[in-house]
């Protein structure tokens, strides 16, 4: 039993923290000057941060749960909006399922030259991974894709999209879902991009009779559910680690504020009611950290055990995120509601993590069903 980071991971964390502190311009993000920074992205790639998301055999130098945790906690702590989670999702699926030609893209991805997105969610799917209505039908050697993908993070910026579509079965069957690796300029693809509340951009994608070559298929026909679930488990680890970083930073900002801000003649941190609430917050953030550790340590566990931790961690982190956002703003008072002050961005980004990969109630119910199974 050991809860220390390895030296390599500690170095990565330290370096990343310095890099992001240097490169992250929250004002620019908040004022909509850019959804994220190309300069940061290049620096992340150069430092090897993208590579840290892949295993050595995939061409990276990391890829374990604790690598994800270290990287994303720092991203969260900085409030950095760069679309790294899309690499975990789409890049992870390419690495896992791709043909030689497809995995060849990963070198560019790790080098920072290729942007990815995972086009899976649909207007009616909410957080269910198996609910896919988009259809791909075979057409000679190739495929024809039709359907709509909603709130695709980085969907407008990605050079390549990993797109799910149903090749057989009913809308909620686990069997019959296939994946395709698609460049962003295929015919019949309409993209409406827009800003997201926590930074970055999303897009609605509409495929209308989009012709795809046979080589676009990623993995086995109809067998994509299990790999998608695995990739989402990894992404949940990353996203909850990011939320953890966001919480740590929000907490630190609040502690600073409580120490500095005076009211009725003393720092408001001297008021016992606020002290106790702050202590409760601290306790819950430590709980959230433990939950992320649990998930990071179980990404390679058998499916049911892994998914128990996916839902447990997403539930607990989501619940804690709400507490941290609301208490941080409340303890700051009005200043906590302004976008001029950094907390605004952290609060927004943190809150939005609940709307990705399933929210607190969704995972609470899922955890109970998994436990009963």
């Amino acid at each position: 039993m050991n809860f220390e980071l390895t030296d390599e991971r500690q170095m990565l964390a330290d370096g990343l923290r310095r890099l992001l502190a240097d490169k992250t311009d929250l004002k620019a993000v908040v004022e909509g000057k850019h959804p994220w920074s190309a300069e940061s992205w290049a620096a992340l790639a150069e430092m090897g941060v993208i590579g840290a998301l892949f295993s050595e055999e995939q061409g990276g130098f990391g890829g374990a749960g604790f690598d994800l945790m270290v990287v994303f906690e720092e991203m969260g702590r900085a409030g950095a909006p760069e679309p790294l989670l899309e690499i975990v999702l789409a890049g992870g699926l390419i690495a896992e399922l791709g043909s030689e030609a497809q995995t060849a893209h990963l070198e560019e991805v790790i080098g920072g030259g290729t942007q990815l997105a995972f086009a899976h969610g649909e207007p009616g799917s909410r957080y269910d991974l198996e609910r896919v209505a988009a259809k791909a039908r075979q057409d000679g050697d190739g495929w024809v894709l039709t359907g709509r993908k909603s709130v695709v993070a980085n969907g407008g910026e990605a050079d390549y999209l990993v797109v799910s579509a149903r090749t057989s079965g009913e809308v909620d069957d686990r069997e019959g879902i296939s994946l395709f690796l698609v460049p962003n300029d295929v015919p019949g693809l309409d993209i409406r991009a827009y800003p997201l509340a926590g930074g970055g951009r999303g897009a609605e994608l509409t495929f209308e009779d989009t012709p795809l070559p046979g080589e676009a298929l990623l993995g086995a026909v109809g067998g994509a559910f299990a790999p998608i679930e695995t990739a989402v488990a990894r992404a949940t680890c990353a996203l909850t680690a990011e939320a953890l970083g966001l919480m740590e930073r929000s907490k630190d900002l609040t502690i600073d504020y409580l120490s500095q801000r005076k009211q009725f003649g003393q720092p408001i941190g001297k008021f016992q009611a606020l002290q106790h609430r702050m202590s409760e917050l601290l306790i819950e953030v430590e709980q959230a950290r433990s939950a992320v550790i649990n998930l990071a340590g179980h990404l390679d566990a058998p499916r049911d055990e892994r998914e128990i931790h996916v839902s447990a961690t997403k539930q607990l982190v989501g619940q804690t995120a709400k507490l941290v956002v609301e208490e941080s703003i409340q303890m700051h008072g009005g200043i906590g509601m302004t976008m001029e002050y950094d907390l605004g961005h952290f609060a927004r980004r943190l809150t939005m993590t609940e709307h990705r990969l399933g929210d607190t109630l969704y995972h609470l119910g899922r955890f109970a069903r998994l436990r009963a199974a």
Binding site: Y127, V151, A197, R261, Q263, G333, M339, G365
Partner: protein, 398 residues
């Protein structure tokens, strides 16, 4: 004990409903319903419509141009207008300054300012908070030094809602630095067009800029604009904080928000069924509805006592705390109900006059912004922490 309205109250409610059916324009109620922001003209038009019927300041005494409503009638008005998605009456002139002038103003001040509030000549905003003096109003620093028949005002106010629309501001200012901090404060009326005033918007976490900073740099204010006695402004501030907070529980808003939440949860699908059929989601909605049913009655108890002449005491603090928490929780659940479509953040789509197509369902568009915007409910108007301290003090010293 009788939980229903009297015949007379019911008749008033029916009259109101008919009026709203006829006079509330659909384009306006649609905006309110969808959480879109209102323009200055929208507000002014609605105020004028109400004033035609003498209902803009219904709770004012008839001698000052009101309808002399008691607390129950005022409650019915608020309930019905909210239910109809009418714009909220901008409170600064009608609900705040008006009653202050009636109680503390000179005859000349009443004669001059009250009619201008009613006919819309003046748009008022409120200059209370300062950077560094939020809940702790007594520590405010904006100064007004007497210079002949003027005060010279210097300092800064903040969180001034809708200052961008306003042409006048009522301010708490420090007129004496010695003695207890509460005892050197005065209440001053200031023309926003005066030289030396600057308004800067504050962008909030919901992307909106409805609040502002207001800077005063050697602003000369005629001494006749002092309301009440010099150095006695604290009395007025306290009066406003405890007596004239309208609709503090926000039951009407909460009911509307809950109905909206239920509509959304009926429209959103989860596992192929309406989200509202998910037992866990339904239970969260149920908890809020049950709390709101009780709070509506708590509110009526207070309103009813006020109509019988009781001064509101600690009850208004209780309503403030519980009312804001319930509304915030409804906002939270509404955001969650919208699922992934709560994340797109097209702030311009909420601006008056926008015709940007929503990204997902129209109801999802304002959900995140409203959640964040309404965090303010527990902060302003005396933060919930301040209210709890007031309650505790009353309870433990009784």
């Amino acid at each position: 004990m009788d939980l229903s309205y009297t015949d007379r109250q019911q008749a008033f409610r029916d009259e109101l409903r008919a009026f709203l059916d006829e006079k509330l324009p659909k384009h306006l109620s649609d905006k309110v319903k969808l959480g879109q922001r209102l323009s200055k003209e929208d507000h002014e038009a609605w105020h004028a419509t109400l004033q035609e019927r003498n209902w803009l300041a219904g709770h004012w005494p008839e001698e000052h141009g009101g309808a002399g409503w008691n607390a129950v009638e005022r409650h019915i008005f608020e309930e019905e207008t909210t239910r109809a998605h009418a714009p909220r009456i901008v409170p600064f002139g009608i609900a705040m300054l008006g009653p202050v002038l009636m109680k503390f103003g000179s005859d000349a001040q009443k004669a001059h300012w009250l009619p201008r509030i009613l006919d819309g000549t003046d748009w008022w905003c409120q200059g209370y908070s300062e950077p560094g003096a939020g809940s702790d109003l007594a520590s405010l620093k904006t100064t007004a030094e007497r210079d002949g028949d003027h005060y010279v005002v210097n300092g800064q106010k903040t969180w001034t809602t809708l200052a961008q629309f306003a042409d006048h501001i009522f301010c708490l200012v420090r007129t004496r630095k010695e003695g207890k901090p509460q005892e050197g404060i005065s209440f001053l009326l200031i023309d926003m067009d005066d030289p030396g005033i600057e308004v800067r918007p504050i962008v909030l976490i919901d992307g909106e800029a409805e609040v502002n900073e207001v800077f005063f740099n050697d602003v000369r204010v005629p001494a006749k604009n002092l309301v009440g006695e010099e150095h006695k402004g604290w009395t007025i501030a306290k009066y406003l904080l405890t007596h004239e907070r309208t609709n503090i529980a926000g039951v009407g808003f909460a009911s509307q928000a809950l109905a909206n939440l239920k509509r959304i949860a009926g429209a959103e699908m989860q596992h192929g069924r309406p989200l509202i059929e998910d037992p866990l989601f339904a239970a969260e909605v149920a908890k809020l509805e049950i709390a709101l049913m009780a709070m509506a009655t708590t509110n009526l108890r207070v309103v009813s006592a006020a109509a019988d002449g009781s001064a509101p005491g600690v009850e208004s603090s209780m309503l403030k705390v519980k009312g804001t928490v319930i509304r915030q929780e409804i906002n939270n659940l509404t955001r969650l109900a919208c699922g992934p479509y709560a994340v797109p953040f097209v702030s311009e789509a909420l601006e008056p006059g926008s015709n940007i197509e929503p990204v997902g369902p129209a109801y999802a568009m304002p959900a995140t912004a409203e959640y964040f915007n309404n965090r303010k409910l527990s902060i302003y108007g005396g933060s919930n922490e301040v209210q709890k301290s007031i309650i505790a003090k009353t309870m433990l010293e009784a």
